[in-house]
């Protein structure tokens, strides 16, 4: 991994953010809602609307508005929310923090479940454990988050009353409460990932198990345990980094629904609220921050992979 490779990756992140900014800005411009009307609400008069349009510079050419927005965004100023009047940037970053908490927890839970599951399935290919994992995978990837979320909430929160159904408690305020409140969303978020990652881990492990060097290791007379632990599992684990990185995008999408259902004021829910309220600055900032997060996560995964896997040379 060379400095020039890192530079290139950074350039790619910048390019990604640029494309996303154009995309998001374009879409928000096309949204069927007048920013001024959204801001002032139903009681706006024509003169009030004009005043606000002038203040927001809505009459300027589109490209100029874009440049102004990007320029401000680069300094962390995403403008004021049309809904609440609060600065969007800090609001979205606070929300992102909550989402990341949820996402990281979900990924950790997922790894703890999915990796052993996938590996056992691969080692015991065709056996009962494999079939059970397969079934779990199919079920997992086939339930959209909103179904899993509602069913889980119905069962664990409403019927059994084990966990609170919604809400967010900061772990800094009340750790136990935070864990209890995060349990359902994390479970929901990790479920679809578990299914996906377990499948991938199984397939990767099978790839490794069928590889020539594993055959060679066996034919060298190494004990099966050594073959599995030292040679197979280690190598099968490496691609999990990439799989997880790819799933971050998936997770971020899912988080929108999960946060909406479990009322976690994370970035997904903020975006959802912003979209329904046509709060353009919030939509723009949220979408941009979310996408940049994904791009950064992907790059980090690549870096981690490069550090872990000696084969890969990035130059």
């Amino acid at each position: 991994m060379s400095a020039s490779w890192l530079l290139r990756r950074l350039a790619l992140i910048l390019y990604t953010v640029f494309i996303v900014s154009v995309l998001v800005f374009g879409i928000t411009q096309a949204l069927p809602a007048d920013a001024a009307v959204t801001l002032l609400g139903e009681n706006a008069t024509a003169e009030a609307l004009n005043a606000i349009r002038e203040r927001l510079g809505l009459g300027d050419p589109i490209w100029w508005q874009y440049l102004r927005w990007v320029g401000h965004a680069a300094t962390g100023d995403f403008g004021l929310s049309m809904r609440t009047g609060q600065p969007v940037g800090p609001e979205m970053l606070t929300a992102l923090g909550r989402s990341l908490l949820l996402a990281v927890a979900a990924i950790l839970v997922m790894l703890v479940i999915a990796v052993p599951l996938g590996m056992v399935a691969a080692v015991r290919q065709g056996k009962l454990a494999d079939m059970a994992t397969g079934l779990i995978s199919y079920l997992g990837v086939s339930f959209p988050e909103f179904v899993t979320a509602t069913l889980l909430a119905m069962l664990l929160a409403d019927t059994l009353q084990w966990l609170p159904a919604t809400g967010y408690v900061s772990p800094l305020e009340d750790f136990g409460g935070a864990v209890r409140h995060l349990a359902l969303p994390v479970l929901t978020a990790s479920l679809i990932l578990v299914a996906h990652v377990a499948r991938m881990v199984r397939s990767e492990t099978l790839d490794v198990l069928h590889s020539d060097y594993i055959r060679a290791a066996r034919l060298k007379g190494l004990p099966e345990r050594t073959v599995l632990v030292r040679h197979a599992l280690r190598n099968a684990l490496l691609p999990v980094v990439t799989i997880v990185a790819l799933d971050v995008g998936y997770l971020l999408g899912g988080i929108i629904v999960i946060e909406e259902i479990f009322a976690i004021p994370g970035i997904g829910r903020q975006l959802m609220v912003a979209v329904t309220a046509r709060d353009l600055p919030s939509i723009q900032a949220g979408a941009l921050i979310m996408s940049a997060t994904y791009a950064v996560a992907n790059t980090l995964a690549d870096v981690a992979y490069a550090v872990l896997d000696k084969r890969i040379r990035y130059d």
């Binding site: 390019y15 086939s142 909103f146 179904v147 099978l206």
Partner: protein, 276 residues
Amino acid sequence: MTDLLRRLMRTPQGAIGLILLAVLAAACLFGPWLAPHDPEKMDFLGRFRPLGAQNWFGADQFGRDVLSRLLVGARSTLPMALAATLLGTVAGAVVGTASAYLGGRWDEAIMRTIDAVMAVPGLLLALLLVSTLGNGAGNAMIAIAVTFAPGMARVTRAVALTVRGQDYVKSATVRGESASWIIFREMLPNVMAPVVIEATIRVSFAVMLFATLSFLGLGAQPPASEWGLMVAEARQYVHQAPWILIAPSLAIALTAIAFNLLGDGLRDAMNPRDER
């Protein structure tokens, strides 16, 4: 084709997937005739009627028959998901193949841009697009297609790059064949198989995404019995009548499972040596 079908039926995933799909297809084609009741007929006295002889899957908050709604709703769910996938796949396949064919800087520029677009989570992109286009099943379909296109372009390009490296494509280039002949006659037919498999699996994502959009109120419009919408509407009655929530949820999951199974079955059937 029949050979493929036979091989498909021999894989357990393929067989189960096909059977499930046959049921779904029947619901799509004959749903309104199979439905025991008018799916929109309200019955004041039958509100929240539990599962039983009168309503096999119970009745909802308007006393409408849940089973009938599911059967008729298949039409507003499945074809939309299929169409969205098809649209996205075709668009993605053309872009991906072209990018692989063009190669060099063009390929680099196209793929980096596609990577960038894919940094926007699919659901978010669909959400923004539907918000812009306006709520509705048709717009949701377009949004899903747009959301799918970059991913499909990426998959297609990967396949197309391998195909492009094949000697028969080189041979055509050396012969001096035109770009369109090479893309459409030499490359695309060979790119299709893996793309079809990928697309099949993506139908299940489309079903889920479409349902999710409807669930969020952006997809199908009431009183359509689109399954995602049914789940959304049922959520507030979960304590009175859990079945009106569970039935469409399972229908969505079953459809997604069917396409996942079919995709895996196809993969196995097309690559018989791959033990996975």
